[in-house]
C-alpha cells in the first residue's frame, strides 16, 4: 500500500528558497524533478495546537511520487506519503 506516515520523522532536505530540490530517504538520494502541487495549511492556531505547513507533492529522479511538508513552526521537513 502507499506508505503514509501520520507522525513522520524529520528528513534532510535541500531547498532553493522555500522549494525542495533534493532530499534523502530510505538510503537513497532523491532529486526533485517535478512539483505536481504545492499548498499551505495553517490551522488549529485558535486551539493552541497550531499546524503551519507547506506541502509539496513532487516526483523524484528515483521515480517516487511523494508528498513532503515543511513544518514552518519547527523548520523541519517530513516525508508524509509515497503514492503508489
Amino acid at each position: 500500500m502507499s506508505p503514509f506516515w501520520s507522525n513522520p520523522r524529520a528528513i534532510p532536505v535541500r531547498t532553493d528558497g522555500d522549494r525542495p530540490v533534493a532530499f534523502a530517504w530510505d538510503r537513497l538520494h532523491h532529486r526533485v524533478t517535478h512539483v505536481a502541487d504545492h499548498w499551505r495549511v495553517h490551522t488549529n492556531w485558535w486551539e493552541g495546537d497550531e499546524v503551519w505547513r507547506d506541502y509539496w507533492q513532487v516526483t523524484t529522479d528515483q521515480r517516487y511520487f511523494c508528498v513532503l511538508y515543511h513544518d514552518l513552526i519547527n523548520d523541519r521537513w517530513h516525508l508524509e506519503r509515497i503514492l503508489e
Binding site: 501520520s6 495549511v41 499546524v51 508524509e80 506519503r81
Partner: protein
C-alpha cells in the same frame, strides 16, 4: 457395505415474492399488482408477470406493459419478516435450508422421506407449512440437484402438486435451452447452432463447449448433464433459552427487569459468538396461580441489546399489569426467555443487510484475535473529520468493541 442414501434436494419457490406478500396484505386489491422501489419493479404478481412485467424493470416500462397494474411502495422490513417466519416454519421439516433469495429456498430432503409417507407427502408438508405460517402458496420441486429442483419447481404453479423428478437428466432433456444459466449472447449462439434443447447442449463434449461458447458456458453444460455440484449452504439458526426460578413469587417489575436484562444479555452474546443476529424473542412466565402467559416479538434483523431491552421492558409491563388485574394478585415464580437467531438472508432482490452474517462471523473471529493478542491491534478505520486539511486527522482507528 451400507446402502448409500440417494441425494435429494427440494426447491421451494414463491415467484414475485414481494408482490405476493402484498397481495396477502391487501386482499382488497384486485387485478395485477407490483411493488416498486426507486422507480424499479421489486416484485410482480403472476398476473403482471403474465403481461410481460419483469422484476428489475423500470416502473414506467412495467406500467406501459400493464396499464391497470396497482403499484405499491416496497416494505422491505415486512418482506424480510415474512420470509424469516417461513424459513422457521420450514425448518420443522428439514435440518438444512439454504435461503438463496426471498422467495427461493433449497431444502435438503436426503434421508428424510422415511419420516413421511412418501416424497409427495413431504412436499405437501412444505406447502402446508408455507400456507399456514405466512398464508402464501409455494411451488415445490424435488430432484437430485439444486438446478433441476429449481427448474422442476418453476414448472409447476403456486399451490399445485410438487414436481418430483427421479431422473434429473431425463427430466432436463426436452426442456428449452433458455432454462440454462446462459447469458443472452450464448443463448442466441446456441439457437444459431441448432441447440434448442438442453439434451442437445448436454451431448456436446466439454472441450467443444469451451471452444464454441467459452469457459463461462462450462457450468451450464455441467448442470445440463445433471452435474450440479453446488452444496446446500444451510442457514444458521439457533434457539437459545434461559430459565430463572424465583425463590419467592416476584411481584416487583424492577426485579423482573434486572433478571431478564441479564438473561437477554447473555443470550445475545452467545448468538453473537455464533455469528447470528437475534430477530425473535419470546418470554414465558408462570404465575404462582400456575397460570402461564407468553409474549413474543419480532425484532427485525440485527437488533442490538438496546432494542432487546426496550422490547423486554414492554413485555414485563404487559405481564405485571396482567397479574395485578387478577383478584389474587399473583406473583411470578418462573421466567423463561428464548431468543431465536437467524442468519440474515443475502438475496439478490432484497439486499438490505448485505452479507451481514459474514461480517458478524468475521468480527467474532477478530474479537477472538483481539483477546489473544491485544484489543489495540484489531481495528476498524473510521472517518474522523473529512474536511480537515491535515490528511492524518481525516481518519482514525477504532477498536472493534462489543457491538454486535
Amino acid at each position: 457395505m451400507p446402502r448409500q442414501t440417494k441425494r435429494r434436494t427440494a426447491c421451494l419457490l414463491i415467484e414475485g415474492f414481494a408482490a405476493t406478500v402484498e397481495q396477502v396484505r391487501h386482499p382488497d386489491i384486485q387485478g395485477p399488482l407490483l411493488g416498486q422501489e426507486h422507480g424499479r419493479v421489486l416484485g410482480a404478481c403472476s398476473l403482471a408477470r403474465g403481461q410481460g412485467v419483469r422484476e428489475g424493470a423500470a416502473l414506467a416500462h412495467a406500467q406501459g406493459r400493464c396499464a391497470e397494474v396497482t403499484v405499491l411502495p416496497a416494505d422491505r422490513a415486512h418482506y424480510e419478516q415474512v420470509w424469516a417466519q417461513l424459513l422457521m416454519a420450514l425448518s420443522q421439516h428439514t435440518p438444512v435450508i439454504e435461503s438463496a433469495a426471498p422467495g427461493l429456498a433449497y431444502l435438503n430432503a436426503t434421508g428424510l422421506i422415511p419420516l413421511y409417507a412418501s416424497e409427495r407427502a413431504w412436499c405437501q408438508a412444505l406447502q402446508h407449512a408455507t400456507r399456514s405460517s405466512v398464508g402464501l402458496e409455494a411451488q415445490v420441486g424435488l430432484a437430485r440437484t439444486k438446478f433441476v429442483a429449481h427448474v422442476a419447481a418453476a414448472s409447476t404453479g403456486p399451490g399445485a402438486d410438487a414436481c418430483i423428478v427421479q431422473d434429473d437428466r431425463a427430466f432436463l432433456a426436452p426442456r428449452p435451452i433458455s432454462e440454462l444459466p446462459l447469458n443472452a449472447e450464448l443463448q442466441r449462439r446456441c439457437r444459431l447452432l441448432g441447440f434448442h434443447t438442453i439434451e442437445k447442449f448436454a451431448s456436446l463434449p466439454r472441450h467443444a463447449v469451451a471452444e464454441q461458447f467459452g469457459p463461462e458456458a462450462l457450468e451450464a453444460h455441467a448442470w445440463a448433464r445433471g452435474l450440479d455440484r453446488r452444496p446446500l449452504s444451510s442457514r444458521l439458526y439457533a434457539k437459545l433459552s434461559r430459565r430463572h426460578e424465583f425463590d419467592y413469587p416476584e411481584r416487583r417489575a424492577e426485579a423482573l427487569h434486572a433478571i431478564l436484562f441479564k438473561m437477554g444479555s447473555d443470550l445475545l452474546d452467545e448468538l453473537s459468538r455464533r455469528g447470528l443476529a437475534v430477530n425473535w424473542v419470546r418470554l414465558e412466565v408462570e404465575y404462582e396461580s400456575a397460570d402461564t402467559r407468553r409474549e413474543a416479538a419480532w425484532l427485525g434483523n440485527g437488533a442490538g441489546s438496546a432494542k432487546l431491552d426496550r422490547i423486554l421492558c414492554g413485555m414485563i409491563d404487559q405481564l405485571t399489569t396482567h397479574h395485578r388485574a387478577e383478584p389474587w394478585n399473583a406473583g411470578i415464580c418462573d421466567v423463561t426467555l428464548m431468543l431465536t437467531g437467524l442468519e440474515t438472508f443475502m438475496g439478490k432482490q432484497l439486499d438490505l443487510f448485505a452479507h451481514r452474517a459474514d461480517r458478524l462471523r468475521l468480527d467474532a473471529t477478530l474479537r477472538r484475535l483481539a483477546r489473544k493478542y491485544s484489543e489495540t491491534m484489531v481495528l476498524k478505520p473510521c472517518i474522523a473529520d473529512p474536511h480537515t486539511p491535515i490528511l492524518a486527522d481525516r481518519y482514525r482507528f477504532c477498536e472493534l468493541g462489543d457491538e454486535p
